[in-house]
Symmetry: C2
């Protein structure tokens, strides 16, 4: 499958750049090396790097070379990785396995996991605001603003707070969808919008990418819930059926498996339709939506 | 004491602006209000707002009006408040009282404290990159870069990691000073440099402010350690003698109380000397250094 090859090639490029960006964090004296090691453990060696892929491919629509989009893509991945580290903490989702390895607070300790998450979040903004990321400070400042809004009190952090809300068990399908649009959707939306910002895209193109990202995000979450409900822990590299055990209503539980699969197909079609203005240039983004809907791990 | 009146006036201005900035975080639906309430609990209703004061007074040296420096000052305070919330967590310093009130994870819960800290850190970058903070995107991007460096893997987060290092007990006086320059010094340095950035200060003035901040930060920490060793929990609004109980070597423990007091006097003099290029305009910054050395709470 040529798409998978391309996804893996971009993932390798992201891994390589993150490795370089995080190499410096090992520098501060032996006494302080643990923090950098923990940051590297959290950010390197795993993940499909879907969010960086979306950012790079969105930017490519507007003639931005992959190399030019790579720093912003790495900043986004730092935020994603920090969120996984904090969500896995005992006080949050209390997960022991992630990407087939012990979670960070198990491999290191809880204090180091909290701090490494904090430092990865902070690093994201350091990367975005660094002149090497883009020569135009207006672009850098806009990327920072977009990522802060996507990650913070009105975005991902709020989504996680809603997911932990004790009233979560009584959420309606639309409550669950709203929560997921924040918890996982916000970073996908940032990925596509950041590509548009880097490419100085016209407002209409940016809006089309936002629509694509909204459908993509919902499809991703629905596929994730289907995998959690039906999946194979070994293939996924993490525990399955977690939501059911925690009494968390997912859309799959609320709609039923068959209706959820039909909805997933519809979302992929919506994502593809949103890309119409870009024609053949957006083939890889369309394939990405199909890929996440059909993935088995 | 006129200085204290001025400090309190600025603290009120910071409190008012933070209140407005955080009011919006209560908006997202009743289900999500808890996160905003926790952010407000952490950021409002306490603190001397020393870091915002330094930022505002540093900016004023270069003709920047207080109102123009207030957003950046609030962003800095958000980072300070997030660091207190995360440092107080059970896995970190495990503190139950802060500013005379239960710490956030006691008043709310641990998951909410982790998330509210994350959201406050993210909000700091949202504020700095917002066009209302400064019309020039180059200034906004530079402030983001400076704050990210001050707060992250080579700044405050590294300092906290060093403070938690089990080898911490064997730290030499210079190890302790290095650790504190990161853990508490980095944000004081940002405060003064951010003022210089807002005021487009010449490099020499910026360097002078960095020197001032370095001495100020050391004096602040030494005074804090003296208060911890000798202080009154009721007046401080937090537990005392914590470091000794945890077996953490402080400079006071390593140098002895008398030598520590002499060093504190020398640091205040150094801070005052660094301000020489600014003449009478820097009186309030000089008073601030004297104030923190002499404070009893």
């Amino acid at each position: 499958m040529a798409f998978l090859t391309e996804l893996e090639r971009v993932a390798d490029a992201v891994e390589g750049r993150l490795d370089r960006l995080l190499a410096q964090s090992l520098n501060p004296a032996p006494l302080g090396a643990k923090l950098g090691q923990a940051m590297r453990y959290a950010a390197l060696g795993g993940g499909k790097r879907l969010r960086p892929f979306l950012l790079i491919e969105s930017a490519r629509l507007f003639g931005v070379a992959e190399e030019e989009a790579l720093p912003a893509a790495c900043a986004l991945e730092c935020v994603h990785c920090y969120s996984l580290v904090h969500d896995d903490l005992p006080a949050m989702d209390d997960d022991a396995v992630r990407r087939g390895r012990p979670t960070l607070h198990i491999a290191f300790d809880e204090a180091t996991a909290i701090l490494a998450g904090d430092a990865l979040l902070t690093l994201a903004f350091e990367i975005l605001s660094d002149p090497s990321t883009h020569a135009d400070p207006a672009i850098r400042a806009e990327l920072v603003l977009l990522l802060a809004k996507a990650g913070g009190w009105q975005g991902m952090a709020l989504g996680q707070a809603l997911d932990l809300n004790p009233e979560r068990q009584g959420f309606s399908p639309s409550d669950v969808a709203d929560m997921q649009a924040l918890k996982t959707g916000a970073l996908f939306r940032f990925a596509c919008e950041a590509g548009a910002v880097l490419g100085r895209a016209p407002a209409a193109d940016r809006a089309a990418l936002r629509d694509y990202a909204a459908s993509f995000g919902q499809a991703f979450q629905l596929a994730d819930d289907l995998l959690d409900a039906q999946g194979d822990a070994a293939a996924l590299g993490k525990a399955v059926a977690k939501d059911a055990r925690r009494g968390k209503a997912t859309l799959v539980a609320l709609l039923g498996v068959e209706a959820a699969k039909a909805r997933l197909d519809a979302l992929v079609a919506e994502a593809e339709n949103a890309l119409a203005p870009f024609g053949d240039k957006a083939t890889k983004l369309a394939r990405a939506a199909r890929f996440i809907a059909e993935r088995r791990a």
